[in-house]
Amino acid sequence: MDSSTASILAEVFFETLGYWYIIIPTIFLGLIVGGIPGFSAANTIIILMPLTLALDLQSGLVFMISLYCSARMGAGIPAILVNIPGTAGAAATPLDGYPMAKQGKGQQALAISFVASCIGGLLTTMIALATMPILARVGFYMHSVEMIVVMLFGISLIASIAAQDMVKGLIAGFLGLMIGSIGTDVVYATPRATFGFLELYDGVPLIPALVGLFAVSEAFVIIEKRVIVNHTNEPKAPNWTDTFDGVRIALKRWVHIVWTSIIGLVIGVIPGAGASIASFVAYQQSRSFSKTPELYGTGHPEGLIAPESANNGVTSGTLVPLLVLGIPGGATAAIMLVVMQFHGVSFGPSLFEDQPKVGYGMFMAMAVSYVIMFLTILPLSRYMSHVTTVPTIYLAPMIIAFTLVGGFVPREYMFDMYLALAFGVLGYIARRTGYHVAAILIGVILGPLLEKYFLWSLKKSDGDIMVLFSSTLGNILWVAFAMSIILPIVFGMRRKRKLEVPAE
């Protein structure tokens, strides 16, 4: 980094700090829209487009970036407290976040999530800024063949979940994959298994599936209890100790935050890949190389850190192809592109020569947002966690109403509300009969993406299946994938043997 770049960065950093009066209210707006299922930074920016366009370039930029970061973090709050992941990117968060809340550790879980999100987001912003030209190249190597393997990393989570009851786990995962294949096919847009419903032509919509499987079914379950928190784990009065405990637990696992946020960053820079892929892949990787994989799914801090760091890593990652190549990495980046183009900003290779302050300004806005977000949101964990103590006779109907509206919002179809209810019933039956809803959901979310990359690869090779092993990077990823499946088994056997020694 030369001295002129450093001086631009310093100048932009202080300029961005001067926009605190935009950043702070936007953070709270982002937390709210991120927490409401169906809302996201992308559709909020669209709704507020007249305002965004009326602002000057720098203010509009700061507003959009702050909203993007805070909405990502906000989606984790209801995922942890009431098992409602508002977006697909937060779908892996409740796997360990919600069990923590049920154990009366909601406040800790929120603090862990905030620390992981902010550090993960801040760190990957810095890495992206420093290595932008290199990171922008990732998309040049990660093509459909390589993405198939990345998808398999995430989908292999089904096998991990199935470990407790192999047959039921695999049935749930397979059911999810089948549901995920509903919709028109990738190549010729021929409808499959849509049962004549036009609303299913574009596939099963993710938000209704997400809120139905997790939240609605959970509402059916918790109505049988007095409060979400288990009776043996009555929450204490609000105190700072739990918040600081959460911060301590997260900071102690800083290597974990760094590692999983980088997974998010790398997946984020690939055009078309998103937070849902990153959070599941990070969770799977975290579990595979953990010394305590058996604790995952029971309220393990590392199982919460992994998806939260990763999905915030994606946030900075999606800016890289937008700024360097002019290709938006995700839906929010695409909306930002529209707004910025209205202000006459031309993205692509020439951006950092023509308007360096805009390019660097976006990263600086992200960095400043994460810093301010950490300071403003952390104290609130103390109060937010009280949601888990609200009697379920009030909470369950609220969750159902809230999530049904959330299911309706993205497409505004009544059909989606019914679909959320149907998924809720499916989720309830699955829970009551010992099938894991997360296995179904992984299939629903990652199945269509796997199919897309698989069909593209086959189409490119004229149907030759060996195309899957045709690239060097792809083959390296295959080896890594095989290792991530085999090594945990080897480690597990070794641990078991060690434990058996004293007994002898």
Partner: protein, 333 residues
């Protein structure tokens, strides 16, 4: 003292009849004079953030001033635009308060591949916003930098070509080129303009074909080699030649044309409202602010071209005919 009644029975009846007639007639009179009384909903069959979104916002920012009301876009992507049209035709009230903003090129081509559930004559386009020819382009770092490179490479292996969707005028342009040169190309539907550009830039495919407006918006990341129509923008498309000039062909222009459409029933039942829509639509084109808004949204000024009902109908019909001709190649049927 006798008082003469102020209102006679005959007068009362007469006044009553007049008042009743006026009351009954008022809604009709007001309908004509006050339309629109609320926002106009616009169904867009692609996702937000894409070319249609950009284009719609630029045009509606000026049109709303002429019409005196706001436009509310709703995005209904899926199945190559089919979802948006099906929802518009099936669920939106035909009352002139609901319009569709579509692409008369690829979206109409779709109907030739798979018939929709509605009659394609039950809606029509009444105003074209812009029209741009499709083109063939490579990523800035692609090893294929000229058409000669492409032809030479195609003789050694089957090249993979990104397209937004199979049923797209750009796909037809490419297939026609392949026919002419005796080369077989492998079309890969990358599902949307952004992915099609990304595919060429990152090397997912050897090169891509797409509407040139989106290619121009991609800037320096791409290089255009051939235009499936007339290159009226010159440098903006790297001075790429037209396919007909370069290969001595007689291919009709492969165009993408964004236009507003409406239910036929809405226009038939509400001619007064429809007149307001078409008149203000045309007035929008006469306002210099439109060009400013269009350019600000990265639109190419040369592509901003008005066309009315008849021209749009001719375009739609030509696309249906073209689709029928290439159906077997584009639908896998």
């Amino acid at each position: 003292m006798s008082m003469k009644p102020m209102i006679t029975r005959r007068g009362l009846l007469g006044t009553g009849a007049a008042a009743a007639t006026l009351t009954l007639a008022t809604p009709g009179l007001l309908r004509a004079s006050t339309f629109p009384e609320g926002n106009i909903n616009v169904y867009i069959p692609t996702s937000e953030g894409g070319g249609a979104d950009r284009n719609f916002r630029a045009f509606s920012s000026v049109w709303k001033e002429k019409l005196g009301t706001d436009f509310e876009p709703g995005f209904y992507p899926g199945a190559s635009g089919r979802v948006g049209y099906e929802i518009y035709m099936g669920k939106a009230d035909p009352d002139c308060y609901n319009l569709i903003f579509g692409n008369m090129g690829p979206e109409v081509l779709n109907w030739a591949m798979q018939e929709p559930s509605f009659d394609v004559n039950d809606y029509f386009y009444f105003g074209q916003v812009d029209k741009d020819p499709c083109c063939l382009f490579v990523g800035a770092e692609s090893p294929l930098q000229t058409m000669d490179d492409i032809i030479a490479a195609a003789k050694t292996r089957k090249l993979n070509v990104g397209t937004s969707r199979m049923a797209h005028p750009a796909s037809i342009g490419l297939l026609a080129l392949g026919d002419k040169l005796g080369i077989e190309f492998n079309l890969i539907p990358l599902q949307g303009g952004k992915s099609t550009v990304a595919g060429a830039v990152t090397g997912e495919v050897d090169f891509s074909v797409l509407t040139s407006g989106s290619v121009i918006a991609a800037g320096d990341s791409v290089k255009t080699l051939l235009v499936f129509g007339n290159n009226i923008v010159g440098e903006a498309l790297d001075n790429a030649p037209s396919i007909n000039d370069a290969y001595d062909m007689d291919l009709p222009e492969m165009l993408s044309a964004r236009a507003f459409g409406i239910h036929k029933k809405a226009a038939d039942d509400n001619p007064d409202r429809f007149e307001v829509l078409t008149r203000t639509f045309k007035e929008t084109f006469e306002d210099p602010k439109l060009l400013e808004a269009y350019v600000a949204s990265r639109g190419t000024p040369e592509y901003l071209q008005y066309a009315g009902i008849e021209e749009c109908a001719a375009f739609k019909s030509a696309m249906l005919e073209l689709g029928a001709r290439y159906k077997s190649l584009l639908s896998g049927a």
